[in-house]
């Protein structure tokens, strides 16, 4: 009876796995839509293979040992031998993990280096500055001279060089279907290359806790055909309002804002990556900041 329960228990995780395969269409990480996410997907699948192998070996050994060597009627007087160990076995189960780790380390290192560069050399990457603020994402296109808030349009099949920084707490920029995340930090600039293979809408979010409304700090990545993208850029340049310093200050105040579009960028007067820009004119700013915190609850989600 007990042994049956044991077997059942050890199968539990596997049965869950089967159950979960029904939910697989939601697993964004396993549905890459670009070369970066694809590289990571391949690495993940490669590692899962080895990991399942290890799990199977250990689980089988474990079950066999428990069933065979359990105390049962007829074995009451069995006295186990005193064995100290076995050098050959020790070498075997040291060497095999080393081989597995090597098999995982080589592609890991390759991929880690590869992801630092754009996935294709022939196409010039599109540069987008990303500024994380409490609790919104600001996207500036320096070459196109446009700026968006909480959504970002990109052309398909073009590597995008996201230059990440933050005004405030450390945030993490993550678009699971396009690729893994990277931190955005105040007074720092980190770079993340992503690329979309096909037009579509991809969820992006802040993956690093930044306080009250961190949960709602989402954005949408819209990948478009190159023509659509160019059309959109033109339209924005012609029709979107200008971003003023005053307006920008309002956007930066802690709270949630809806989507916005502007026909210039805040990079004209400030690049938070280059300086602790958040604190320019510190005394003034600081007192204002304290006020922001007190008035936090009054900020509302405006669409």
């Amino acid at each position: 009876m007990k042994q049956k329960m044991w077997k059942w228990a050890s199968l539990l995780p596997l049965s869950l796995l089967l159950l979960l395969s029904g939910c697989s269409e939601n697993m964004l990480v396993l549905q890459p839509k670009g070369p970066v996410a694809k590289t990571q997907y391949d690495l993940i699948m490669w590692s899962i293979g080895f990991m399942l192998l290890i799990i199977v070996v250990v689980f089988v050994l474990f079950t066999v040992v428990l069933v065979r060597y359990r105390e049962k009627p007829g074995r009451d007087n069995y006295e186990p031998p005193e064995e100290e160990g076995n050098t050959l076995l020790e070498i075997v189960w040291t060497a095999i993990p080393i081989l597995i780790v090597t098999a995982l380390a080589v592609p890991t290192v390759k991929a880690t280096f590869a992801l630092e560069k754009p996935s294709q050399k022939s196409v010039k990457p599109l540069t987008i500055h990303v500024t994380a603020a409490n609790w919104k994402w600001i996207f500036s296109y320096p070459e196109q001279n446009i700026e968006t808030v909480n959504y970002v349009n990109i052309p398909e099949d073009v590597p995008v060089k996201f230059k990440l920084t933050s005004v405030g707490p450390m945030s993490s920029f993550w678009v699971p279907q396009l690729g893994g995340q990277k931190y955005a930090m105040d007074g720092m600039e980190t770079e993340l290359f992503l690329e979309a293979d096909e037009p579509g809408s991809y969820m992006g979010r802040n993956a690093n806790f930044t306080g009250k409304d961190f949960t709602h700090m989402e954005f949408e990545v819209v990948a478009q055909t190159k023509d659509d993208f160019n059309k959109w850029v033109k339209e924005v340049q012609q029709t979107a309002p200008k971003l003023s310093k005053g307006k920008y200050e309002t956007i930066l105040k802690p709270g949630l804002v809806g989507r916005m579009t502007f026909s210039n960028t805040h990079l004209e007067w400030i690049d938070h990556a280059k300086q602790n820009s958040h604190h320019m004119g510190k005394t003034e700013e600081h007192s204002e900041n304290t006020k922001h915190h007190e008035g936090m609850d009054m900020e509302h989600h405006s669409h």
Binding site: A9, L12, P13, L16, C23, M27, L28, V29, Q40, L43, I44, S47, M51, I55, V58, F62, V65, L66, Y69, R70, E71, P80, P81, E82, E83, E84, G85, L89, E90, T94, P97, I98, V101, T108, V109, T112, F113, E116, P169, M170, W174, G180, Q181, K182, Y183, M185, T190, M203, R205, A207, G211, K212, D213, F214, T215, N276, H278, H279, T290, H293
Partner: protein
């Protein structure tokens, strides 16, 4: 400061907690007075320097903290069960996951392990106490007041809310203006000092106080893991001490170590935190490995397979634990070369860990396996920890980690290693050594109920989280929208959490039930044990060993039993035993630490300074203390030994 700011207001849950705290305190005072137990409490517990009693107090505190952290966990699961729940608002949720993490690691896992090591290590090495019993009492009381200080935050002043990692700049004054993170900095500092002293104490104890004949390579595996853990503590905790001191300066005196302005460097905090934080997880895991080794070997009736390989692998893991910290923030953009280095060092940990898993399996092989509760916990550890371990290797692969980082995949991974590793070990150790602490055995039937409820609940709770992570759910989200498709798995996880909660209730009932009806352990060796602690009576006499045993082999007591003699006490050889005196000073000094800490939290510097004067006064008084302890007479030893049936 107004009273309405001093006490946390506005939350029905908090008011309920206020009421229950007051009622519990009145209840405790009433019971102690009614049964006239105040003197007993003072003489037997508050002033004790006996490692066994200190260990028991550690474990009681840890179980209380497990309750607190567990309630936090259940509140979080309740909030996440359905999308857009309004049960907790984001601020309350942020406070709860912060206290859950901090309490579970620092005030539950650590003290549970330290409690077990307090009780067991001196017994396993055939010593009568630790090297510095007085210091041991200070260690405990500092941990205890630190834990209490941290725990009152949620009703007085407000809980910390920047995560248990307290990353800057979020945890700085600018974004966390309340006193919550002051509590974090000060409470962890106070209990951290206690832990550091424990590390030093047990290192010296193990190195200097082993029974004659017990060479390093004849030490029980649990003692080995504690020795290495002490080394980890001694190297890792000073880093935390420094980091917390800088944090305290930043928060109380507006220094700029980790701020965004004036040359502050928030990344420095992340680095310091994890230079301590990664060894810290091995501080709670290595002793767990030790506990499993003892239990598996006892209930398989076999010597530990590959003892030497086991020792080398712990040393290897301990060394590697100091060169992997960057894997906690591969996404900080340190560059491919740095990430690759830390990827490889992290994956390398899988090698010695794998060695240990196979050695446990081969200890079981050819054994005669008895499924006691302690053994069930130890056996369940193997498959569950392997799941946690292999997903750990996946997380170690930097390029892939960019996709797992901060997601529920990570949450699932570290709960699989910390629960299946440390919590299972604590429960295994509790059942296994319970007779040594209290003289009776925990009921096996109830124990198995706890085991199955908790173990199955654990898998149901955390296994789905791997998939939630792959679906893009990040940690610390207080809610999610229905359209994301995360609801079914979150419901499953909450059911599992509830099962774990029920398991914990059964455990508590078991403690009560066994105290009343439990089987008394008359032999001192209920499991047919192998190491020296089983040569003592249950509960253990105040002086542990009437005569210090002589060790001739690994599994010293097993060898004695095999040679047919057991551990015999020759009454002729008895000598008076020198024991340390009780002292109330460690308790009082720690109370002063509490008030000093409380003063710092609220920037009431007058209170802090007055309390600091008392601390220094306590230290000065100690320096002039010439109490050398006392002797237990031969007659008294004889009487005690005859009573327990160990004497001839």
């Amino acid at each position: 400061m107004k009273w309405s700011e001093f006490f946390v207001t506005g939350e029905p849950l908090i008011y309920a907690a206020d009421v229950s705290i007051v009622l519990t305190m009145i209840g405790i005072v009433f019971v102690l007075t009614y049964f006239k137990k105040w003197k007993w409490l003072w003489n037997e517990w508050l002033t004790t320097v006996d490692h066994k009693k200190i260990g028991v107090m550690y474990i009681i505190s840890a179980v209380l903290m497990l309750f607190r952290g567990g309630v936090d966990a259940l509140l979080m699961r309740a909030q996440l069960t359905a999308p857009n729940m309004k049960f907790l608002d984001s601020q309350h949720y942020n406070e709860i996951f912060t206290t859950h993490g901090t309490i579970m690691i620092l005030f539950m896992a650590m003290p549970f392990i330290i409690g077990l090591m307090n009780i067991v290590v001196p017994l396993q090495i055939g010593a009568r106490d630790v090297a510095y019993p007085y210091l041991n009492a200070i260690s405990f009381w500092l941990f205890f007041v630190g834990a209490m200080l941290f725990n009152i935050a949620f009703v007085i002043g407000g809980s910390p809310d920047a995560g248990w990692t307290a990353y800057f700049p979020l945890a700085g004054n600018e974004f966390s203006p309340g006193v919550g993170n002051n509590y974090y900095a000060v409470a962890l500092q106070i209990s951290g000092i206690g832990t550091l002293m424990t590390g030093i104490n047990f290192l010296v104890t193990i190195l200097k106080m082993r029974a004659p004949g017990m060479t390093l390579m004849r030490m029980p595996m649990f003692t080995w893991t504690i020795l290495i853990t002490c080394v980890l503590i001694i190297f890792a905790f000073p880093v935390l001490t420094v980091a917390l001191a800088l944090m305290t300066f930043d928060r109380l005196f507006d220094t700029q170590f980790f701020t965004m302005a004036n040359g502050g460097m928030s990344m420095l905090w992340a680095n310091l935190f994890w230079i301590w934080g990664h060894p810290e997880v091995y501080i709670v895991i290595l002793p767990s490995f030790g506990i499993f080794s003892e239990v598996v070997s006892t209930f398989a009736r076999k010597r530990l397979f590959g003892y030497k390989a086991m020792v080398y692998s712990i040393v290897g893991i301990a060394f590697l634990s100091f060169i992997v910290w960057v894997h906690h923030f591969f996404t900080m953009g340190a560059g491919a070369a740095v990430n690759s280095f830390f990827s490889i060092t992290t994956m390398a940990i899988a090698v010695p860990t794998g060695v240990k898993i196979f050695n446990w399996l081969f200890t079981l092989r050819k054994g005669r396996i008895r499924f006691t509760t302690a053994m069930l916990w130890s056996l369940a550890f193997i498959p569950n920890f392997v799941i946690g371990g292999v997903t750990g290797v996946m997380l170690a692969m930097a390029a892939a980690d960019y996709q797992y980082h901060n997601s529920y995949f990570l949450i699932a991974h570290f709960h699989y290693v910390l629960i299946a590793g440390t919590v299972f070990a604590c429960f295994a150790g509790l059942h296994y050594w319970y007779p040594k602490m209290f003289g009776h055995i925990l009921n096996e039937r109830l124990g198995k109920w706890t085991f199955w409820l908790f173990m199955i609940g654990f898998n149901i709770c955390f296994f789905p989280m791997y998939f939630l992570g792959l679906m893009g759910m990040t940690r610390r989200m207080y809610t999610y929208s229905a359209g994301l498709g995360w609801t079914p798995l979150n419901v499953v996880a909450s059911v599992g959490a509830a099962l774990m909660g029920i398991g914990f209730i059964v455990l508590c009932y078991n403690i009560y039930y066994s105290a009343r009806y439990g089987e008394r352990d008359m032999t001192g060796d209920p499991w047919d044990g192998r190491t020296l602690e089983w040569a003592t009576s249950s509960p253990v006499a105040h002086y542990n060993f009437a005569v210090i045993p002589e060790v001739k082999d690994l599994d010293a007591y097993w060898e004695m039993k095999k040679s047919g003699k057991g551990f015999e006490i020759d009454e002729e050889k008895l000598k008076p035993i020198h024991m340390p005196s009780n002292s109330g000073r460690p308790f009082l000094i720690s109370i002063a630490f509490f008030f000093a800490g409380f003063g710092l939290v609220f920037k009431w510097f007058t209170l802090a300074i007055i309390a600091a004067v008392f601390i220094i006064l306590g230290l000065i008084l100690r320096s002039f203390d010439d109490d050398d302890g006392y002797y237990i007479s031969v007659d008294e030893i004889k009487r005690t030994e005859r009573l327990t049936g160990k004497g001839a």
